[in-house]
Amino acid sequence: MKAIKDVVSISSLYKIYQTGDFQIEVLKDINLKVGKGEFVVISGPSGSGKTTLLNIIGSIDKPTSGKIVVFGNDLLAKDEDFLADFRCREVGFVFQSYNLVSTLTVAENIAFPMEWIRKPENQIEKGVAELLEIVGLQHRANHFPSQLSGGEQQRVAFARALANDPPLFLADEPTGNLDTKTSQKIVQIFQKLKVDGRTVIVSTHDPQISQLADQKVYLEDGRLVSLNE
């Protein structure tokens, strides 16, 4: 698939954690370009920096040096309020550990990103119903996260990530905590995202998800290696 325009552009990116006198280089000289509608799979061993890289692309974390431009926005030059808005409108993020708000119901968890961009109430209700249908959890709308299984919670997390119809979708090991059967449902959602032409970056070891990739990259000891070449 040919990219029309770079959605994500990373160049010479480093992330270093300072712990006392020790420095840990998590990401080293990362260079990556992701085009619009591309499906990128990041793989690599545990501790290789996959989550950190996704967090930086999603503006949850900041690099120590280098440049990251997403949708033409130099993320390092933006303030926290801009980034909050950016995360809400442009990025859908699915975490490995679901990260639902335990005090909100399934429907409310899906609705609150829409409420932040001030969507009218009727649109929110319609949007929530549609997303619940996509992830197959209409019957769970008024349940709290603690009443759901892991797979159901992950599907709610997908629905929440899609709430504002973000052009960039990030997922960090979305099937890492799920059994094969439950993972299958998640794979189906990814297939739909690909069909819809959405830009997706996912860190995973799941071969079914990897099969969907337009670009595969491998992280090892903080360095990125392209598997396409």
């Binding site: 909050a84 990260n99 005090t103 709290f144």
Partner: protein
């Protein structure tokens, strides 16, 4: 790691929590000790009401106040300590679970955390005693002009307070530690247990503003145990603050009005120079000054001649001319009988006690003073009635209003007991004419006047001075405002010192609230991270915590103020003087205390909202 190294390192690594616990404990101990030491020094403390300063009636108001504040400060201190230790331990339950999970025996864990508790309790109580003594020394050194005891602090009280709070801290701290060490590791590492979380209810999707409120309230009610504890803790603090602030202001203004009405504002004393000096001395006995016991009131030179009285009466700018005869005499309690209201039996009253009292002959129609009294005041046609000061009533009489006082071998029926700072309440007012008759002194020895506010005060005074000098150059005009202001300043100083106490408690309460907010933020940490990662701005998190703090504060505030006002008005101050300005003043101070507590409570949330999302979610 050795058994002692772990608790010390643990406390050092948790600087903020350790600091908050230590400061809270220090302030609780310091405020209690200061109250005890200071009240003992000014002489109307919780331990005993002694003579020397202030009249008996004033002492009663102060000592009642001190007793209430003492009880409240102890209760508040105990609740604060209980809460702060609860918070400290709630934050450790997870660690205890993890330590147990890797196989550490219960007794070793108990030892670790009891050592921490002992360190905290020892340092907190020691520094509290130190701060309490320093505050007491600073306060009393500022009162040197009022002859307040400058003796070193009573170290037995310091020891008593140290032991009391040390034991309280150990009792309140040992239980949660013991409970924590007994729970299963799986439970200990469950948020449901260490945050005391409950079951959620069902709610509809709501608007954006509703979302903040909903997130705030649901989290708040999820931490039922901690929320109820902090509300109880803050309610106790606000009761204390209300009693101290509202009660302090009302009592301050009320007692000041008693003094001001008894002496009179803008009143001028005209008397012989020596008499003027002595009269000032009599008024300053209120705050502990010693009078000249050999003063000869009956000296002929001190009597005000007819000519001078005529001149004063003819002066157009003078509205009142209050002539008085001031003497000192031997007085005796006259025994009487009264009827026991329960049995109907007649019982004797009085022991025939004897003493010395200032005797003031006053013309009740022209008296400038408006005393606060029990019973009734002197009346024109009641020649053998007397009104006595509260200290004399307390010292010499059982039931003064049914008894008589013997002066110059004549019995006067006591019709009233008044509050008057002169001679520190050791005074007897009788009709001027009667006193002149029984003493054979036909003239008064002091005159009090009030100038018409409409006339030029300076001109009138200058004119009067001229006339008085012409009649008798030994006589002078003395403005009593100076003596009055000294008495009022003494009252103000004591009340403002008492009002200083709520600051200690408020700071402790704010620290408790900060501890609670730290617990709340820790409990919501993951959720806040999620909210931030899906687009919530830092101020959204601040709003959520602010709503939670406001709910907790306002609930406690409502309870605290309601009980505080009831205690103040119904129990502490008799016939309180409450003006609309005072209500505004009280409301202002209470709102300031609420706002200050609220702002301080936001500190952990502000710090938290500055964190990076990756830090929050780690």
């Amino acid at each position: 790691m050795s058994e002692t190294a772990f608790p010390i390192n643990d406390l050092l690594h948790r600087k903020l929590q350790t600091g908050i616990t230590l400061i809270s404990l220090t302030l609780c101990v310091a405020s209690t000790l200061f109250l005890l030491l200071f009240s003992e020094k000014i002489g109307f403390g919780i331990l005993s009401t002694v003579e020397g300063k202030l009249t008996y009636g004033f002492s009663v108001v102060f000592s009642q106040f001190m007793v209430f504040l003492g009880v409240l400060i102890l209760v508040t201190g105990a609740i604060i300590i209980s809460f702060i230790i609860f918070v400290m331990m709630s934050q450790r339950i997870l660690d205890i679970g993890l330590i147990k999970g890797v196989g550490c025996p219960n007794d070793l864990i108990f030892g670790y955390f009891m050592t921490e508790l002992l360190i905290i309790a020892s340092i907190g109580c020691c520094s509290g005693v130190f701060l309490g003594i320093i505050t007491d020394l600073a306060s009393t050194s500022l009162l040197t002009g009022f002859q307040v005891s400058q003796e070193p602090p009573n170290f037995w009280l310091a020891l008593l307070v140290f032991c009391l709070f040390f034991v309280l801290a150990l009792i309140f701290g040992a239980k949660p530690i013991l409970d924590s060490t007994r729970i299963e590791p799986a439970k200990a590492i469950s948020p449901t247990h260490y945050f005391g979380l409950g079951q959620e209810g069902e709610f509809r999707v709501m608007s954006k503003s509703g979302l903040t409120l909903k997130l705030a309230l649901r989290s708040l009610f999820r931490r039922k145990s901690a929320t109820i504890r902090i509300i109880i803790c803050l309610s106790a603090v606000f009761i204390f603050v209300t009693v101290a602030v509202a009660g302090g202001i009302i009592a301050d203004k009320t007692t000041k009005s008693w003094v001001e009405n008894a002496i009179g504002r803008d009143v001028f004393l005209i008397a012989h120079k020596n008499m003027c000096d002595h009269y000032q001395l009599l008024l300053s006995k209120f705050y502990g000054a010693n009078e000249d016991s050999h003063f000869d009131y009956t000296n002929e030179q001190y009597l005000v001649c007819e000519d001078m009285l005529n001149q004063l009466n003819m002066e157009p700018g003078i509205t009142n001319v209050d002539t008085r005869l001031v003497l000192e005499a031997h007085v005796e309690e006259v025994q009487n009988y009264t009827i026991n209201p329960e049995t109907g039996a007649t019982i004797p009253v009085g022991d025939g006690r004897k003493g010395e009292s200032l005797i003031v002959g006053v013309d009740s129609d022209k008296a400038i003073s408006k005393w606060f009294f029990q019973g009734k005041s002197l009346e024109k046609n009641q020649a053998w009635n007397a009104m006595i000061g509260d200290s004399l009533a307390q010292k010499m009489f059982d039931l003064p209003l049914v008894q008589s006082i013997r002066i110059f071998d004549n019995d006067f029926s006591i019709v009233g007991v008044c509050l008057d700072p002169i001679a520190n309440g050791n005074v007897t007012y009788v009709p001027l004419q009667t006193l002149q008759n029984v003493t054979g002194l036909s003239k008064p020895n002091i005159v009090m006047i009030k100038i018409d506010p409409a006339v030029n005060r300076k001109e009138t005074l200058d004119h009067m001075r001229e006339k008085i000098e012409t009649v008798n150059p030994e006589f002078m005009i003395y403005e009593l405002n100076e003596a009055l202001d000294k008495d009022l300043y003494f009252l103000s100083y004591i009340w403002s010192t008492i009002m200083f106490l709520p600051l200690f408690s408020l700071t402790s309460a704010s620290l408790c609230l900060i501890g609670y907010v730290m617990l709340a933020v820790a409990e919501q940490r993951q959720e806040f991270g999620v909210l931030r990662s899906v687009g919530a701005k830092p101020k959204t998190l601040l709003n959520i915590v602010s709503v939670q703090n406001l709910v907790v504060l306002l609930s406690s505030y409502a309870i605290g103020i309601s009980f505080g006002i009831i205690i103040t008005l119904l129990i502490l101050v008799q016939k309180p003087l409450v003006t609309s300005y005072m209500i505004l003043e009280i409301a202002g101070w209470l709102l300031v205390s609420l706002a200050a507590t609220f702002i301080m409570s936001l500190y952990p949330a502000v710090q938290f909202s500055k964190k990076k999302i990756s830090e929050i979610m780690t």
